[in-house]
């Protein structure tokens, strides 16, 4: 249950090989993560959970090519990741919508960059707004939208660009429990349907188990992988009813025990 070796002969989509990352903060070296060995399989939803500051975001940034690894290497589809890995889409806690563009304009950006003809852009944006449930809000500016709607807009923009891999960094952290669950259901369904590979960072254990196919547990500073766990829940799980599921309770309890030592260390 603990190792990722299950994928015999499977070529991983993303691979971290002995990766470490050191920052220099005010002249002092700061080791953010070390000794990361991790294989992300194509088509899976891999969740990364751990206390804040243990380097989860740093890993995503390296997968996107925004940071360079200090030690080891990050491989994407067999080749080392170079700056701006265009195969990935990034979604962070703050949605980074462009405030001067309305919903339609924001979703259209990746399509404009691709150079699609105007009529196609319009049709595709309309489609995407329906997918994420934003129909009728096309002419609203981000500052007129609620937090959940902004997330949907950012998600639609991500889907417009249609990357094969989604990097999601605590995207739902700021949402209330109900909305978060709805977004979890939608994101899982959507990614399954579209066959996306997902790295999903969260500090919420329940979320990590609920939407993940596998779950990577981080601890410590500098962050290391404590354990990789297969989530023994069916791919078409009913997230709404998970709380009553025996397997779910068991696995979250196990993960709690792994993370518990980190709680006492203070953050």
């Amino acid at each position: 249950m603990t190792e990722q070796a299950g994928s015999k002969g499977h070529v991983p989509l993303i691979e971290f090989r002995g990766v470490g990352k050191r920052f220099t903060v005010k002249g002092e070296p700061l080791q953010a993560v070390r000794d990361i060995d991790l294989k992300v399989r194509e088509g899976e939803i891999l969740t990364l959970v751990g206390p804040s500051g243990c380097g989860k975001s740093t890993l995503l940034n390296m997968a996107a090519g925004l940071f360079e690894a200090t030690e080891g290497e990050v491989i994407y589809r067999g080749a080392p990741v170079k700056p701006y890995n265009n195969s990935v889409g990034y979604m962070t806690q703050s949605d980074h919508l462009l405030p001067w563009r309305d919903v339609i304009g924001n979703i259209a950006i990746p399509l404009e960059i691709k150079g699609l003809p105007k009529a196609q852009v319009v049709a595709r944006v309309e489609e995407l707004m329906e997918t994420v449930g934003l129909t009728g809000f096309g002419r609203s500016y981000p500052n007129q939208l609620s937090g959940g709607m902004r997330k949907r807009c950012a998600l639609a923009r991500l889907l417009a660009y249609d990357p094969e891999t989604l990097l999601m960094d605590e995207p739902f952290a700021a949402l209330d429990a109900m909305l978060r669950m709805r977004m979890q259901i939608e994101i899982r369904a959507l990614c399954r349907r579209l066959g996306k590979t997902v790295m999903f960072v969260t500090h919420d254990l329940d979320e990590a188990v609920a939407i993940g196919d596998r779950c990577v547990v981080f601890t410590g500073r500098p962050g290391t992988i404590e354990r990789v766990v297969d989530v023994p829940l069916p791919p078409d799980r009913d997230i709404l009813q998970l709380r009553k599921d025996r397997d779910y309770q068991e696995i979250t309890a196990t993960l709690w025990d792994v993370l518990a030592p980190a709680v006492g260390m203070g953050d």
Binding site: A64, T92, L98, W100, D102, I109, I113, Y141, Q144, Y161
Partner: protein, 261 residues
């Protein structure tokens, strides 16, 4: 509720204005000599005469032409160079102290030099105004371009954006807010440039009217010219504000939105 308090504010404003004007009218000749402070009724009458004779329009048009041309010229060059230096790190780094040195110089102090270089014609006033406006717009544009969110740029880069996409979809739109701040700040300075230029050497424009009236000890004329200048500043400000709203519709929705923190 909201509307009601708005009307009330306007009523109070009108009352305040009436109070000042009546106070001025009454104190003229009583508390202070009319020679020094004139009186509102005389100013209104002169303004009316100048309007009928077209004098105020003639001189106003000259000043407006100078201020506007200088404003456009300085603003345009300021924007272009602001964007360029905002993107070119090295050049900006090298030029920074020199720019700041020049920025801290009161630009009107250049007026005598400009008279030497460009004579006392209309181009001297335009160039003086342009110099003043240039710095304000340049510095604001530059700051705006530098203040662009690097995360937004990174996200676009991941989408495959090239340098041009980044410039036109993120950098410039996000700098627009700053550019308009610079433009709005520039309006009064554009008038300062034009009018100082006219005060120093001219036989046309509102600044000339001002200097000419003062030279004849005609306080009423001075005040009338001042009111003409104020009216022009007001119109220019309103115009920039209007363009600003049209250019940045998302700001509009922002201010109309119910306050929340």
């Amino acid at each position: 509720m909201e509307e009601l308090s708005k009307t009330r504010i306007w009523v109070l404003r009108a009352m305040f204005l009436a109070f000042v004007i009546i106070g001025w009218e009454l104190s003229s000749g009583r508390l202070a000599s009319e020679f020094f402070i004139s009186r509102p009724s005389a100013i209104a009458q002169m303004f009316w005469e100048w309007t009928l004779s077209g004098k105020i329009f003639y001189h106003g048009a000259i000043t407006l032409l100078e201020a506007l041309s200088g404003f456009l010229l300085g603003g345009l060059i300021g924007m272009v160079i602001g964007v360029w230096l905002g993107r070119a790190q090295l050049v900006a780094e090298v030029l920074d102290p020199f720019i700041m040195m020049f920025y801290s110089l009161p630009k009107v102090a250049l007026a005598p030099l400009f008279v030497l270089w460009f004579g006392i014609g209309i181009d001297m006033k335009i160039l003086l105004t342009a110099t003043i406006v240039f710095f304000l717009v340049f510095l604001n544009t530059y700051t705006g371009v530098r203040a662009v969110s690097r995360e937004q740029i990174a996200i676009l880069r991941l989408m495959g954006a090239n340098e041009r996409h980044v410039l036109f979809k993120v950098v410039l739109p996000s700098a627009v807010t700053w550019v308009f701040t610079g433009l709005r700040l520039s309006v009064p300075y554009a008038l300062i440039g034009a009018i100082v230029g006219e005060l120093i050497a001219s036989n046309r424009g509102l600044g000339y009217l001002l200097a000419d009236s003062a030279g004849q000890f005609d306080t009423t004329g001075v005040f009338t010219a001042l009111i003409g200048i104020m009216a022009m500043a007001f119109c220019l400000n309103a115009a920039v504000k209007l363009i600003e709203i049209r250019a940045m519709p998302w700001r509009e929705t922002n201010s109309k939105r119910e306050m929340s923190i």
